[in-house]
Amino acid sequence: MRLTLTIAFIFFFISIHAQTKVSGTVTAPSGAPIMGANVYLEGTYDGGSTDEKGSFFFTTSETGKQTLQVSFLSFETYTTTDEVSTMNDLKITLREDVNSLGSVVLNAGTLSAGDTSKTTVLSPMDIVTTAGSDGDYIAALQTLPGTSKVAEDGRLFVRGGDANEANIYIDGLSVFQPYTATTTNIPTRGRFSPFLFKGTNFSTGGYSAEYGGALSSVLLLNTIDEPDQEKTDISIINVGLGLGNTQKWKKNSLSINAFYLNLKPYQEIISQRIDWIKPYESLSGEAVYRYAFKKGLLKIYGGINYSNFNLIQEDINTPRGINFKLINRNTYLNTSYKGTLGNDWKITTGVSYANDRSDIKIENTAIDNQENNFHAKLKLRKRFSNRFKLSFGTEQFINTFTEQAKSPDFTTFNTSYTNNSTAAFTETNIFFSKKFAMQLGLRAVHNSLLHDTKISPRASLAYKTSDQSQVSIAYGDFYQNPEQAILKYNKTLEPQKSSHYILNYLYQHNKRTFRAEGYYKSYDRLLKFNTDTPEFSSIYTNSGSGYATGLDLFWRDNKSIKNIEYWLSYSYLDTKRNYKNYPTKATPNYAAKHNLSLVTKYWIEDWKSLISTTYSVASGRPYNNPNTPIFQNQKTKAYTSLNLSWAYLISQQKILYLSVSNILGADNIFNYQYANTPNSTGNFSRRAIRPGADQFVILGFFWTISDDKSDNQLDNL
């Protein structure tokens, strides 16, 4: 009897266990039921899925305090701990996960190229296969809206700003001399090889408080965290030779590459307008070492570059031309660490250092200058929740410059300065919902050379108007110190200021992207001087000002036509400024009113070929004709250029590459130089400033050697 009772008791006990019921409904914040959510008791097998009404029901043998979890894709996981017996008719509302794909993105002003599809307008591959870019990522960015094509310069000109107004960062640290050394009217290139980077954020305005010292734009380049495999790349091009190698071992990886460029053989075959005494020659090397710690990643990047050339510069005032000779040596080091500290804290820190030496000879004047730059940065970021993040940090910039000019006409002339800045910044990210987000930032900079402190606010808001579209706005104040050429003569000036107001609309659906951005930018305290070029004896003031306003449009379609991808960029720009030695407000020569680029990429499977074309058009650029009474009111004819490149895959790892710029041979004129004094008829005579050669042809062979034999250098072209 006792036994029977015991058994009965045990069965009763077990059956009691099996009979605790858990039930309830799960809804979205809108009140709509969520179907297919996973509801379960943590650490047990007991659970169920919600039905079309959002209801769930299951039984459990657990007793006492238990934790109930509700999870569903693109919603935050919900947990509650209570007595199981009370978990009946629960009403659970899930919060939207603001990190999920369909969330609003704070993107006003930014064009990103990366390997995630969130608001990305270009993939890394696009950057390097753009015809006419010839492996220069800066040239590829010039097909994006907001930029002006200034072909004789090669640098980035963003929204009415001149090239000095754009700063470039690698892994969050400043790059001080991002472009190869050159002289007037000889276009430059980016110093860095594009295949070291996994992603690019190109901000044409309204950028984060983390960055400063640029009136118009920042370009953020991020190096690859971990290379995919060991390989060797060999490139043989009609203008140079390149070699690259990547090694991986344990938690380390090392990539090195070297490139030798010499334009002499090329320029002996193809005639040039410029009288080169010694054509451009350069030797560059780069290395990236990475070490993966348990909670972070260390990257060390080093680049060295040596270049030299000698030419006779045409000049209307000197009929025989001006002899210009340059030797430049540049060393750049960048060490960064990013990692987690636990408790949702993240740290990003690093230092960058650059040494740049130029030996310049202009006719009889020898100018030797040396610049040292140092940047250190520490940034902490705390994630309080998916919806609220706070970051803050501090930066130190140290910059020294010395220059010695020697000439038979005057005795040795020395200039130097030390220009240090300290900055602090903070930024907060708030997601009110999946549809509505805000970013607020503040940056303070103290400059010890100019004895000046500036505080600049930054703000942006974004609202998702539908599943495929969003609207965002941004505002920011930006300060930039006078450039080196002026700072070496005058140290009592103030930083120049700009304010950006941006309205952005983005539509993304089904591999099509449309982006429209309108902006207004005001310039204040621009530098002015009273001589043709900045000189020792010039009078400098901060009395300049100006504005830029415009509309940038971007359309990308990877869907409509099979095997063809294309994008179309159009920029409308209205800008005037009174700066430098301008007598009045005028549109600078670099700022064309209309800029249009059409980039296409066509993969022909039967030919194993990728054919890319880039068609660029820009309306005429303003120039000043002293024979007319109004300053800077003439316009050159429109600029056009059709570039073509053809990559042919001989085999999986061997590529033959041909690229021709300006294939139609358009005769482009960028500007005019007028004589300083009128000729006998009382007119100022002029000469047209044109490209060194109308076309440029690159023929190359690229060979990748790796174990798996599937990788190739198509991404480097």
Partner: protein
């Protein structure tokens, strides 16, 4: 005494029941998956995974269902969120077991799914990863039939793309068939799928 024995027996039975609840749960999950309710099956696997903290298999299967589901849907947001969830599951599994060939193969399939879904964004970055994952899996288990079969299929795809002859990889498929025959593992629910895919892959060999 008798009471104690009976009690003991009963308790043992219940504890055996408890042990086999893992099996029951896994079987139920596979059943649900077979009945074309992939999301419910994922839920069950996820629950088991959260309860069995030392077992990587439920995470592995949850990831597999997400990945295979993406091959039959079009919606970009759905695909992206499934693939990122699958990656999360695989990361959890990798934290439990190191140097696991099956997980590497699944990760290779995950990356293949990314490439298949949007080659222009993911092709360049993830293709070398797929290759590397298969190679590492084969290093760990040279006779793994899934690694052999799917690696061969991947290489056939690349050969087709570059206009080379995919047939050179057919001997690999033959090898895979052999490895499938030899495959043996005592761990319950250990991956042994893939045999049914041989025919599909072999189609390229008979062309």
């Amino acid at each position: 005494m008798k009471t104690i024995i009976i009690l003991f027996t009963l308790l043992t039975i219940t504890s055996i029941n408890a042990q086999s609840s893992y099996e029951k749960g896994m079987n139920k999950a596979f059943e649900t998956w077979k009945n074309k309710k992939p999301d419910e099956a994922i839920h069950i696997f996820e629950r088991i995974a959260k309860a069995e903290k030392e077992n990587w298999l439920p995470y592995y299967y949850a990831a597999q269902i997400h990945i295979t589901t993406t091959f039959s849907i079009q919606d970009a947001e759905n695909i992206e969120s499934r693939l990122s969830k699958a990656q999360e599951y695989l990361n959890e599994a990798k934290a439990i077991t190191k140097e696991n060939a099956e997980l590497l193969i699944m990760e290779a399939l995950l990356n293949t799914a990314y490439v298949a879904y949007n080659p222009s964004i993911y092709g360049m970055k993830r293709s070398p990863k797929v290759e590397q994952l298969y190679q590492k899996a084969k290093q760990l288990e040279p006779q793994n039939p899934r690694a052999t079969l799917y690696h061969a299929e991947w290489k056939m795809g690349a050969a087709n793309f570059f206009g080379n002859d995919p047939k050179v990889f057919c001997p690999e498929v033959e090898k895979a068939i052999l490895y499938f025959e030899k495959e043996a593992n005592d761990t319950p629910f250990y991956p042994k799928w893939g045999k049914n895919e041989i025919k599909r892959v072999q189609k390229q060999c008979s062309k």
